[in-house]
């Protein structure tokens, strides 16, 4: 067992208490948690899905750009935040398990610690013209 860095543990604890959809990746860019609100958006709770790699994530949920093309995992705001060590923002579409598409704005920022970047957090906001669910 590798102990998660405290900053990631605290981030997860905070995210669990938020009703804004939020996602957490570790320092390698692997999705390690999303909260209940994000689960409602995706149609699947994190506990059901578990930690997933980039391939599986893409085939399940997209995300897609404005032309409907899948956005490579490496170009997602979360991943650019953790790899580039700087905030990132994008508008994109995610597909929930029931096939509904949700247009969202995504802001991601890196979790910087005394030992360097330990991961990143992204929050999702349904866009004004989004055809998906109400803000959770």
């Amino acid at each position: 067992m590798t102990q998660r860095p405290l900053e990631l543990i605290l981030a997860r604890n905070l995210m669990s208490a938020l009703s804004t959809p939020a996602f957490l990746v570790d320092e390698g860019g692997l999705l390690v948690f999303y909260n209940e609100a994000a689960g409602m958006l995706l149609g699947k709770r994190f506990e059901e899905l578990g930690t997933v790699g980039p391939q599986e994530w893409g085939s399940l949920f997209g995300p897609f750009d404005e032309n409907g093309e899948p956005i490579p995992y490496d170009e997602l705001p979360l991943v650019t935040a953790v790899r580039g060590g700087r905030p990132a923002h994008a508008e994109l579409t995610v597909r929930s398990t029931d096939g509904t598409h949700h247009e969202v704005e995504v802001s991601a920022f890196p979790i910087q610690t005394p030992h360097g970047s330990q991961g990143a957090i992204a929050v999702f906001w349904p866009t004004a013209n989004g055809n998906g669910a109400e803000p959770a």
């Binding site: 067992m1 405290l6 543990i9 669990s16 005394p114």
Partner: protein, 293 residues
């Protein structure tokens, strides 16, 4: 490894007739390693008596600070060995992006709060930030990891031969987390305490008091017990007693804790409240097995 509790109180010293049994001195635990090396875990007011008990001869001592709240450093300027030129003291503690460990401690050991400055201490004192990876002191391997509290705070694990001590005096692992459900790698401090021979852990509040102290950086009884059960520590001492808790109240807290411990499947003999000046000897595992036969 020999462990002696010189201060078991949290937050502020609480001397007086009401606290005479569990003690009023703040956090300090003396550890004598199997090769004779001496460590002090934290330097609360308990370290004053630890210093008085040490022989007046050339020595090298290591002080491992979990964090710099006053109840963990207040005894430093009254630690007799610090005033002996023949003593070498190495102070370990958490790094901070804001200032060095030495500069942060010097805010306390300086005018007007202190009659002496760090540079005036007659001993040979040095300050070191705890490394991210394990390091050695004498016969022990030491590990430090950040844990949930207020401000940069460490917990320690000391492995000496086959016995291990986990020291996490200020810790709120249940803040925003369900300790019974959460995966082990997502629990603050878990790796430090895993299967430790002895866990010394924050048990400041009763379950009834905790709701008024959420986010203050400390544990309720049930959190400490849940943490101890999950980590599989062989023996647990509830530590960092609230200064408002009298001996009688601690007796009650201890009895309630014991009941919860048994309900959680714990062995009643493996949970106690920390008592100032009490000692625990952690024998090597081979000797333990022999004793059990």
């Amino acid at each position: 490894m020999k462990v002696k509790l010189w201060g078991t109180r949290g937050s502020i010293p609480a001397p007086g007739p009401e606290t005479i049994r569990y003690g009023g001195n703040t956090s300090c635990v003396g550890v004598t390693l199997s090769d004779g090396s001496m460590l002090a875990l934290d330097a609360g007011t308990g370290i004053r008596c630890l210093g008085l008990a040490l022989p007046d001869e050339p020595a090298r001592l290591h002080i491992l600070l979990t964090h710099l709240h006053l109840d963990h450093i207040q005894g430093l300027v009254f630690f007799a060995p610090a005033f002996r030129p023949q003593t070498e003291i190495v102070i370990w503690g958490p790094a901070s992006p804001e200032a060095s460990l030495r500069d942060r401690i010097a805010r306390y050991i300086s005018a007007p709060l202190s009659p002496v400055e760090v540079r005036e201490l007659p001993c040979d004192v040095s300050f070191r930030h705890c490394p991210e990876s394990e390091w050695e002191i004498g016969s022990a391997r030491i590990r430090a990891a950040s844990v949930t509290h207020r401000g940069p705070t460490l917990g320690y694990r000391i492995d000496d031969g086959d016995s291990s001590l986990a020291y996490i005096p200020d810790h709120e692992p249940a803040l925003g987390a369900d300790l019974a459900q959460m995966d082990e790698d997502w629990i603050s401090g878990f790796a430090l305490a895993r299967d430790a021979s002895l866990l010394i852990h924050d048990g400041q509040y009763t379950d009834a008091e905790y709701p008024c102290h959420v986010g203050w950086g400390h544990s309720a009884t049930s959190h400490a017990l849940s943490f101890a059960r999950r980590t599989g520590a062989e023996r647990t001492l509830l530590f960092h007693h609230d200064p408002l808790h009298s001996d009688d109240q601690l007796d009650e807290l201890g009895a309630a804790a014991q009941q919860q411990w048994v309900e959680l499947g714990g062995d009643p003999g493996t949970l106690e409240l920390a008592v100032e000046r009490s000692e625990v000897e952690l024998p090597a595992r081979a000797a333990k097995a022999a004793a059990a036969v």
